[in-house]
Symmetry: C2
Subunit: 177 residues, 2 copies
DNA sequence: TTGCGTTCGTTGGGTCCCAAACGATAGTAT
DNA sequence: ATACTATCGTTTGGGACCCAACGAACGCAA
């Protein structure tokens, strides 16, 4: 375990980026916002997967899907996909995995045989009651560095961004359908 | 194209979540921070992929990889993986795709045949000069809703979160290696 | 009732993603 | 020289992800 011969590369590469694109007409603040956003999300997802979800053999997407069902109740596939922010095709695979583990069930209603109603099994609900407290505790650990005001402003900005981007997508909407 | 018979579900499900977990001892603000963070990133990634990257047949990961090479110059696989925030194994696949498209090259240096040095081809560099202005323009569109102060505070909070999470991971570090 | 367009969830193909195991290479201590 | 050990990038296996194409089921009009 010898120390590396050279100092580690800049973690974010931001300084290098500023120099490289300096001659182009680049908006650096928006670059910083987007690239740091992705860094944070990677860190958050990895932290949750490695410290919580791993113990229950669940992926982040699997957890999200179970969470939506737990919070909002049984729902049809396309709505579930929209809530979990994945396409219907992706959700098919996720549900297959969860169904193999007996955490969810798929039912075709007789009133319209095109549909599929998804709901949590008993086991799925029990599992969520175990996991969620730990998941939320990890969320709290990660955001503990922010005081109340900074955290509230952060959430407000996230909502602000979300509605702005949805506005940009008008007419060519992301449909997850 | 008939309108849906019922109003769309709450996009974030936050209200429903508050009711569902109300009896548990849950930290709602951190839940809001994390879940909105993921929503925003999904929206940002989708917007960039559909409006910019798609025209060049590039995935988000492929673009990120090219961007790091473009900005920071040729580098060895493990460093590139760390910069792009993926594991070495993942990067192997990404590089295979990019190499098939003649955008990057892999070279084994004679001084140490365990290593692989990755660099952009001429075509790869030309491609980046085409794409990046459009990519950055899209970044600017998405963050245009934020005034300068809000944007700066947002970036500061992102950095704050990043270092906090890295602190939590001490000793069981994520090392993309 | 027989078409015909629409709306479902699923499938297939290509890519990405991680963790773990692996083979090749290099360094080091006998 | 010869093991031992550490360090590379790659491979493997399970899963997630999108898009586009699809078949089954539905609804409505001719």
């Amino acid at each position: 375990m010898t120390p590396p011969p050279v100092p580690p590369l800049l973690p974010t590469g931001e300084e290098a980026a500023r120099k490289r694109v300096g001659d182009l007409d680049v908006d650096l603040p928006s670059m910083a916002a987007v690239s740091n956003l992705f860094r944070v999300v990677n860190a958050v997802r990895n932290y949750l997967e490695r410290n919580v979800l791993r113990d229950y053999n669940l992926t982040f997407s699997g957890f999200t899907t179970l969470w939506v069902l737990w919070v909002m109740g049984s729902m049809e596939t396309r709505h579930l996909a929209a809530e979990a922010a994945v396409t219907k095709g992706t959700l098919t695979g996720i549900l297959k995995t969860l169904e193999d583990r007996d955490l969810v069930e798929r039912v075709t209603p007789e009133t319209d045989r095109r549909l599929t109603l998804v709901h949590l099994t008993r086991k799925g609900e029990r599992r969520m009651r175990q996991i969620y407290p730990r998941f939320n505790a990890a969320e709290r650990e990660m955001t503990a560095a922010l005081d109340q005001q900074e955290r509230d402003e952060f959430v407000a900005t996230l909502r602000h961004l979300l509605s702005a981007i949805e506005g940009l997508e008008q007419g060519q909407a992301v449909n997850y359908g």
